[in-house]
């Protein structure tokens, strides 16, 4: 997730240690222990979407790479492809397979594929404490013998077994656990093997992937093989597939599982009756069709209390009102009043001053809100509530063509839409990624924007607040529903692993929050200052004024807002919250009535995404789709605003 950790994938000569494993087994925590760096750590499958890398803290010459979770080396979603490609691209790679000790069979399914690929690896059986609590005893020496690679038991969250893991990295070697398939399949495998060149991973492994049908791999191989040869391979696999009722991937995995069952029977013992009954009960209730709903509402209310009331209220009041309002800004104003030119003074502390507006908003208003949002989010993640939230949301999201999994990006969007757009990679179909990207751009206010909205709403009526949120939700559902009808394709299957409910680990929550804050700071704050600077320049050259004049008919006639509101909309494109902040200021100046506030906030929320999100959208979805989305959102938001204006006026709605 953390973009800033993204590195070039080819560093020549250096040794690479790649962390690989099923989703949600603790790779990122282990990454932290091996490098001292934060990758985003969570109790939610699929939160690592970008690759994090860092220098090993026990071996200067090695680079540690964290990868998104995979269940199979044949990728199904973009993040799985990222992990597999890491394996394909590198020579000199050592792998640490991180596994959930509670889920040995599933882990070994991956081990079997690694052994087949003949890459040197070792196995870290993580969450050994949870396994023990559940009564699962694993004999790691026996397992090591069966697999032919070192096996280490770890409890990453507490740092247990980490030192041993570091030592054993040297002993990593290709596994001896090889599975033989039926004769027909074996013959097909060896006939393809013969056609393949020498590559970083074993030919046998590649042959099986090809037979299973892996268009991405074929694409990759086209740089080494002639089109003719690829055609031969494709023909062989089609021939083979017709001989089985089930897919080759399935046949292959089932055979592997048979061998794995034998190993597990030897090395693992299960005593019944483990597990924490209270945690289990909470887990059960949180997905209860009836009880689950009040729990969900309670969680949302908790979010509102911490982020909305405490963060956006108390903390912002203190930091903005007292710290900045009474000390920093007056001090800065005094300091720059000594400046030689009026221009410099305006630039720093003027109407669009870098300090009075840029830094003040970024640090005094946005930061507390984003910070508290990330703390709450990380807390829920660590507890393991998020997948359960996805289960609860599944029923609702189904109606807008999404699976419950899409709830993670949507909720994360309430923190930062840009970051959320990045996490759409965890969704499996192109269609879902597109839908979620659209909804994020359209109807999910980010926490910064939310902060300003809440602050603005706090001054007026509660009914207006409810009206505002209902309008946004209705728009989300309507557009989602319509888009799901228009965009071709099927809703993808909803399959999500439920991690056990855990007591949150303060250190984990802290690591997660910090890594997200760090990301936010690097991504958002510079843009914030840049935005202020652009505004300053636009204002100075008089462009703002002419744009305001040009947009005035639309803003004044159609939306019924004062002309000055045009400026706020322009700002809204630079940062979502910035637009809302513009209205906040207009309100402070007494230029808006309640109806106008509602209209302006609805439009600014639906309005085009901020510049950072816009760039990420281009990166993730491509320029064409991004422009199409913006081309839809822009008129749509003004259309809704106009209609709302018409309705409120016609009905003559007034607020006390």
């Amino acid at each position: 997730m953390s973009q800033c950790h993204q590195v070039e994938t080819k560093i020549s000569g250096k040794k690479r240690i790649l962390l690989l494993g099923n989703p949600n087994v603790g790779k990122s925590v282990i990454f932290y222990h091996l490098t001292g760096r934060y990758a985003t750590v969570s109790n939610y499958p699929g939160t690592t979407v970008a690759v994090a890398s860092g220098r090993a803290n026990f071996d200067e010459g090695s680079t540690i790479i964290d990868s998104p979770g995979v269940n199979n080396l044949i990728p199904r979603s973009e993040d799985e492809k990222v992990a597999r490609d890491l394996l394909l691209e590198h020579t000199k790679t050592v792998l640490i397979q991180v596994a959930d000790a509670k889920n040995l069979k599933r882990a070994l399914l991956l081990s079997a594929q690694l052994a087949e690929a003949e890459v040197p690896f070792l196995l870290a059986l993580n969450m050994a404490d949870e396994a023990e609590k559940k009564g699962i005893m694993i004999n790691e020496k026996e397992l090591s013998r069966a697999l032919g690679v070192p096996v280490v038991l770890t409890v990453a969250t507490q740092g247990q077994g980490i030192n041993q893991l570091k030592e054993k990295v040297k002993e990593a070697r290709p596994g001896s656990f090889q599975v033989r398939h039926d004769d027909v399949l074996e013959e097909a495998i060896s006939s393809i093997e013969r056609l393949l060149p020498s590559l970083p991973i074993a030919r046998r492994s590649l042959a099986i992937m090809l037979l299973s049908g892996d268009p991405e791999l074929e694409k990759w191989l086209s740089q080494y093989l002639s089109a003719e040869l690829l055609k031969t391979i494709r023909k062989k696999s089609v021939d083979l597939r017709s001989r089985y009722a089930k897919s080759i991937a399935y046949i292959v995995n089932r055979r592997r599982m048979q061998e794995i069952e034998k190993i597990v029977a030897q090395v693992a013992m299960v005593k019944k009756g483990g597990g924490s009954p209270i945690a289990e009960l909470i887990g059960e209730l949180s997905v209860h069709p009836v009880v689950g709903i009040p729990i969900l509402l309670l969680v949302l209310y908790f979010f509102y209390l911490v982020v909305g009331v405490f963060g956006a209220g108390t903390v912002v009041e203190f930091v903005e009102g007292v710290l900045f309002g009474e000390y920093i800004n007056p001090a800065a104003t005094w300091l720059f009043s000594l400046a030689p030119t009026a221009l410099l003074k305006d630039l720093m502390v003027g109407e669009y001053g870098l300090i009075t507006i840029g830094v003040t908003y970024a640090v005094a208003i946005i930061l507390p809100v984003v910070g508290f949002f990330f703390i709450c989010f990380s807390l829920l993640e660590d507890i393991g509530y998020l997948p359960r939230l996805a289960v609860m949301a599944n029923a609702l999201l189904r109606h807008i063509g999404l699976s419950g999994k899409a709830v993670l990006p949507l909720i994360l969007g309430l923190g930062c839409d840009t970051m959320a757009t990045l996490t759409t990679r965890t969704l499996e179909s192109k269609r879902e990624r597109l839908l979620v990207t659209l909804l994020l751009a359209l109807a999910i206010p980010c926490s910064a924007q939310m902060a300003v909205i809440l602050a603005l709403m706090a001054g007026i009526s509660g009914k207006a607040t409810i009206l505002f949120f209902s309008l946004i939700l209705i728009n989300l559902l309507i557009v989602g529903y319509l888009a799901s009808k228009v965009i071709p394709g099927q809703r993808s299957d909803f399959v999500l692993e439920m991690p056990p409910i855990r007591l949150p680990q303060p250190s984990n929550v802290m690591i997660k929050t910090l890594s997200r804050m760090e990301w936010y700071f690097k991504e958002a704050v510079p843009l914030f200052l840049l935005g202020t600077l652009i505004l300053f320049i636009l204002d100075k050259i008089g462009f703002l004024l002419s744009l305001e004049r040009a947009g005035a008919p639309l803003v004044q006639q159609w939306l019924g807002l004062p002309a000055a509101a045009t400026g706020a909309f322009i700002m809204g494109f630079l940062r979502r919250d910035y637009g809302a902040a513009g209205f906040f200021r207009l309100n402070e100046l007494g230029l808006l009535d309640v109806n106008q506030i509602i209209i302006s906030l609805v439009v600014i929320t639906l309005f085009v995404p901020c510049i950072a999100q816009f760039f990420i959208m281009i990166k993730e979805r491509g320029l064409k789709i991004t422009l199409a989305i913006v081309a839809f959102i822009f008129p749509y938001s003004f259309f809704v605003g106009g209609v709302l204006n018409f309705i409120l006026r016609t009905l003559g709605v007034t607020w006390q």
Partner: protein
């Protein structure tokens, strides 16, 4: 002697004349002469016998099924498609092979054996090609005390544990996904809840998934309960939703 041919005729009438689509009549001289079933050796005689037995009527070069013929045809088609399912799902042979094996197998099956297969497979509703399988007596009495041995996992009772018999998915990728989560024939799983999404436990993993996926996982009940009313309270079940 002629039984096989007669059955072929009835089956052809059911499928080609489109009983399923309510057309019911088939021309004795179809446009594609060379493909015609009726040009094959022995068919002329078979047709005669079938008419004598009151299974088909021939009028103006058009062939149609009588009521008795329909009943028998229905039965044959049912046998054929169940046999296909058996070869395809349980024996894992490719669809063409399943088809040709089923063609031979269908003539050997007794009514009792057919129902047994139907029960074993959990009363499947379509053949591997997606054509409907006519319901048999066993399907209609599904609510009776004799519960099918193999059922879709979605029909498990809450808290009930069962072993996966086979995976019957035709949806692209679904099978591979289920498999990569470690669910294979023989894997034991327990249905924990149905709403708002189905949750199953298999091993130490809890998985939330759509009901449509569970329908593709056919499981074998560990204790086929002959009298479910009596045993309903025997298992301690914590989840009831």
């Amino acid at each position: 002697m002629l039984e096989r041919e007669i059955e072929e005729i009835l089956e052809a009438l059911w499928t080609d004349a489109g009983i399923e689509e309510e057309k019911e009549r088939l021309s004795l001289t179809p446009p594609h002469q060379e493909e015609s079933l009726f040009q094959q050796p022995g068919m002329e005689e078979a047709l005669k016998v079938a008419e004598e037995r009151g299974l088909v009527t021939i009028r103006g070069g058009m062939l149609s099924l009588t009521e008795a013929g329909k009943a028998q045809a229905r039965d044959i088609v049912r046998r054929h498609r169940l046999a296909e399912r058996l070869f395809y799902d349980v024996f894992d042979v490719g669809s063409e092979e399943a088809e040709s094996s089923a063609c031979k197998f269908e003539h050997l099956l007794t009514a009792e054996a057919t129902d047994s297969i139907c029960i074993l497979l959990g009363h499947p509703s379509t053949c591997p090609h997606g054509n409907p399988i006519p319901k048999g007596d066993c399907c209609l009495s599904e609510l009776e005390e004799i519960l099918p041995v193999v059922i879709p996992a979605s029909q498990l009772r809450i808290g009930e544990e069962a072993a996966v018999a086979y995976l019957g998915s035709r949806v692209k990728d679904r099978l591979d996904r289920i498999a990569s989560l470690g669910i294979f024939p023989g894997t034991r799983l327990t249905l924990l809840q149905r709403h708002p999404a189905c949750i199953i436990r298999c091993g130490e993993t809890e998985l939330a998934l759509d009901e449509t996926i569970l329908r593709d996982i056919r499981v074998r009940r560990s204790t086929p309960e002959l009298f479910p009313q009596k045993t309903r309270h025997r298992h301690r079940r914590r989840r009831r939703w």
